[in-house]
């Protein structure tokens, strides 16, 4: 599975579900925590990726 985005989404989903079930007992609260965690991870990663876009890894090329 070589897609960076797909890996990020799957990883975020797994971690969100894990922490929602670990920290919350109420069903609604779990869903809320799951959504917040998932969106935070995906959106923040995309924002950081966008912010890094002007800085290429290898400037010698």
């Amino acid at each position: 599975m070589r897609s960076h985005f797909l890996n990020m989404v799957i990883f975020s989903a797994l971690v969100s579900v894990f922490f929602a079930f670990l920290t919350q007992n109420d069903r609604r609260e779990r869903l809320k925590v799951m959504t917040i965690l998932f969106l935070s991870m995906v959106v923040l990663s995309l924002l950081i990726a966008y912010a890094m876009f002007p800085f290429p890894l290898n400037t010698a090329r």
């Binding site: 599975m1 070589r2 890996n7 797994l14 894990f18 079930f21 670990l22 007992n25």
Partner: protein
């Protein structure tokens, strides 16, 4: 503390290490146990699928001890990823890095590191171990009554 008060946390922690979610199952949290089992197993299998590598303790690189500990926390399942990485069960690099055994282990690790998805796979494997570590601690907290 009664003998049951001591053994229940120990048994639940051991079961949690043995199989992700088993500690919670033992403590009566069946639904949670099923979710934890599925999530940790999926994370671990994605690690294998992405050709992640297990860490091996290297005296010259102290951080590898933490990586190895995180891998081992996954439980007996971890044997699969360790075998896939090193083709045998090796947990520490021999002190003499020029020995044949050390060279074989290093070569096996380098071969894995050449795979494009190795970083993803290794992260999945480490995450599965860290999740299970939290599950062991959570099972302990539930067993001693610190958490509902």
């Amino acid at each position: 503390m009664s003998s049951e008060g001591v053994t229940t946390p120990l048994i639940s922690c051991f079961l949690a290490w043995l199989l992700p979610g088993a500690g919670h199952f033992y403590l009566g949290r069946r639904r949670r146990a099923a979710v934890f089992f599925a999530v940790v197993l999926a994370t671990f299998l994605l690690g294998l699928l992405n050709e992640g590598r297990s860490y091996i303790a290297d005296g010259q690189q102290p951080l590898t001890y933490l990586g190895t500990l995180a891998n081992v926390a996954t439980g007996p399942l971890e044997v699969l990823s360790r075998r896939a990485t090193f083709h045998k069960l090796a947990y520490a690099l021999p002190a003499d890095e020029n020995s044949r055994e050390a060279q074989e282990l290093l070569t096996a690790m380098r071969n894995k590191a050449r795979v494009v998805t190795d970083e993803y796979g290794t992260t999945y494997l480490i995450t599965a171990g860290l999740m299970n570590m939290l599950l062991i601690l959570d099972a302990f907290d539930i067993a001693i009554g610190r958490k509902a």
